[in-house]
């Protein structure tokens, strides 16, 4: 930290993280495209480094940065328009009109700027991994290296992904715009998909440095909170945020001292994050106050809330969870939802009720590669007293999983079944 240069670098990195999203958003609104917006934001920071190294940092660096960014943008637009005027008849007063428009945009609404940037970065014409890279970089203000580390990819790959995404947008002539209200629900769907994807990338991480992977959860939460603040009456967005707040509340409790996974029923609930649970439950209340929603995120959040409200695993309201899964299976049916619905039904009404839902899943194409299916079936058969069939399912699950610890658990349960018991010592 003795080198003033590196101190300034660290300083600029912090300012970039805090200020660049709203700066890029406003610039994108002014100039229309992401590439120019990003370039102008970088130019602004370079100008700051040069000036501050000479004159010291101002008391309000954010104000300096945003004023400079605006100057650079207005300058760029004037030059561009002057270029165009060469082959276009410049109407009298056009200059005045430009100044007027710019003034309006410059003083415009920060919320609209950010929302426009998010919509652009999550444009449906982009592939999901391109959307997440763009969003993390532009809306979260992460450096390419951070995005790369989180996705376990080389920085060059991420950089290229971002460049390609911007090129795709430019080729499709996508300019900064707020979609008309009729289109917003579909566009918000695309944004929510990215937020949940980023969250799950971190939450379900099975490889890589856990610390950096969990950073992805933090970024998804930041995005979800941002989005909820920008669209405060969109119940499905609030539902998404409620869902990830509640899931994140268990992050610290779901691994043991040696990093081994701890199942929900066995977690030390005192380690659940009460602040996040409170936020999740408050969001669900707000959804109710807004008239409710039956969207998939809000339903999943309601299920997560049943767990969050239970002070011990034994008092979990499984009947409510089973009913919520019935609803979820109706609006977004999938084999994985069915499997969870089966588990909930078994908890609420006994193993037979669960098996009725779970056993037909063995005939669903693709499920023969999903090791959790035989694992769950084995557990339910075991509890129903059918140890022989249960044993076969556990062995099937053991053969299918790629995870050594999981394989060992499945083999232990198969041996217990052979001895006519469901009980298996938790290590």
């Amino acid at each position: 930290m003795t080198d003033p240069g590196s101190a300034l670098d660290a300083r600029m990195a912090t300012l970039w993280r805090v200020e660049s999203p709203r700066m890029t958003a406003r610039l994108a609104r002014l100039v229309g495209d992401l590439d120019t917006a990003e370039e102008l934001a970088q130019d602004t920071f370079l100008a700051a480094v040069e000036k501050w190294r000479r004159d010291g940092e101002p008391d309000n660096p954010a104000a300096w940065l945003h004023t400079t960014a605006r100057h650079l943008a207005v300058d760029r637009i004037r030059r561009r328009d002057t270029g165009r005027a060469k082959y276009r008849l410049a109407a009298a007063g056009q200059r005045h009109a430009l100044e007027h428009d710019l003034g309006e945009i410059v003083d415009g609404d920060l919320a609209e700027d950010l929302l426009g940037l998010i919509f652009m970065a999550c444009h449906p014409i982009l592939a999901p991994d391109a959307r997440s890279a763009l969003v993390l970089k532009l809306v979260c203000g992460l450096q390419t290296e951070d995005v790369a580390r989180a996705f376990l990819a080389p920085p060059a790959t991420i950089a290229q992904r971002v460049v390609r995404a911007k090129r795709t947008l430019a080729a499709a002539k996508v300019r900064f715009e707020l979609p008309p209200h009729g289109e917003r629900p579909a566009r918000l769907d695309a944004v929510r998909e990215v937020v949940y994807l980023v969250f799950n990338e971190g939450y379900t991480a099975t490889s890589g440095d856990r610390w950096f992977r969990e950073d992805l959860c933090a970024e998804a939460l930041r995005l979800g909170r941002m989005l909820a603040a920008l669209t405060p009456s969109d119940t499905e967005t609030l539902g998404l945020l409620a869902l990830i707040e509640l899931q994140a509340s268990r992050l610290r409790a779901r691994t043991g001292p040696d990093g081994e996974p701890v199942l929900l029923a066995d977690q030390d609930r005192s380690r659940w994050d009460r602040l996040l649970i409170g936020r999740g439950l408050a969001l669900l209340d707000r959804i109710d106050a807004l008239g409710g929603t039956t969207g998939p995120y809000a339903l999943q959040a309601a299920i997560a809330a049943c767990h969050a409200r239970a002070t011990t695993a034994a008092v979990t309201d499984w009947e409510r969870i089973a009913a919520l899964y019935d609803g979820l299976a109706r609006i977004s049916p999938s084999p994985v939802v069915e499997l969870n619905r089966g588990v909930a039904a078994a908890q609420a009404f006994g193993p037979a009720a669960g098996l009725e839902i779970v056993l037909p899943l063995f005939d669903v194409p693709g499920m023969d590669r999903y090791h959790l299916l035989p694992a769950v079936a084995g557990d339910l058969l075991c509890r129903a007293g059918d140890h022989e069939q249960a044993r076969e399912r556990f062995l099937q699950a053991a053969a299918m999983t790629g995870n050594a610890a999981e394989r060992a658990t499945m083999q232990r349960r198969a041996s217990a079944c052979a001895a006519g018991s469901c009980a298996v010592a938790r290590h």
Binding site: R17, V18, N60, L110, A229
Partner: protein, 121 residues
């Protein structure tokens, strides 16, 4: 990481003078901005110490003292809990708050989390 950002009372606030509409608007603007940055987890303001009390324990003897208390500048006026990457980022948000609202002093403190209380392995 979580940080608690606290700002302090002024004599006016202690005397129950309502914040000017400008100041209220500035605080509202800051809270909105912080929410839009996605970093704000929670935040509250507290009333004059006239409406509060203090519990003091000296050698096991408990004494409850009703407000108001002297030294307004030592009394918290409000706090926000921010979820950020670093102290530097929290400080940046505190600076924004101080500049926008016109506070003389804002403290930034890290919230202790479960891991901090575990003996090093």
């Amino acid at each position: 990481m979580r940080y608690m950002v606290m700002h302090y009372q002024t004599q006016d606030m202690e005397d129950g003078v309502l914040p000017s509409p400008e100041r209220q608007a500035a605080i509202g603007e800051y809270m909105q901005e912080a929410a839009m940055s996605g970093v704000l987890l929670s935040g509250e303001g507290v009333a004059s110490s006239r409406q509060g009390a203090r519990v003091e324990v000296t050698d096991g003897a408990v004494r409850v003292i009703d407000g108001p208390f002297a030294e307004a500048k030592e009394l918290i006026a409000g706090f926000a809990i921010l979820e950020v990457d670093s102290l530097a980022e929290a400080v940046e948000h505190a600076r924004r708050f101080a500049v926008l609202v016109g506070s003389e002093r804002v403290d930034v403190r890290r919230v202790v989390e479960f891991e901090d209380l575990q003996p090093p392995s």
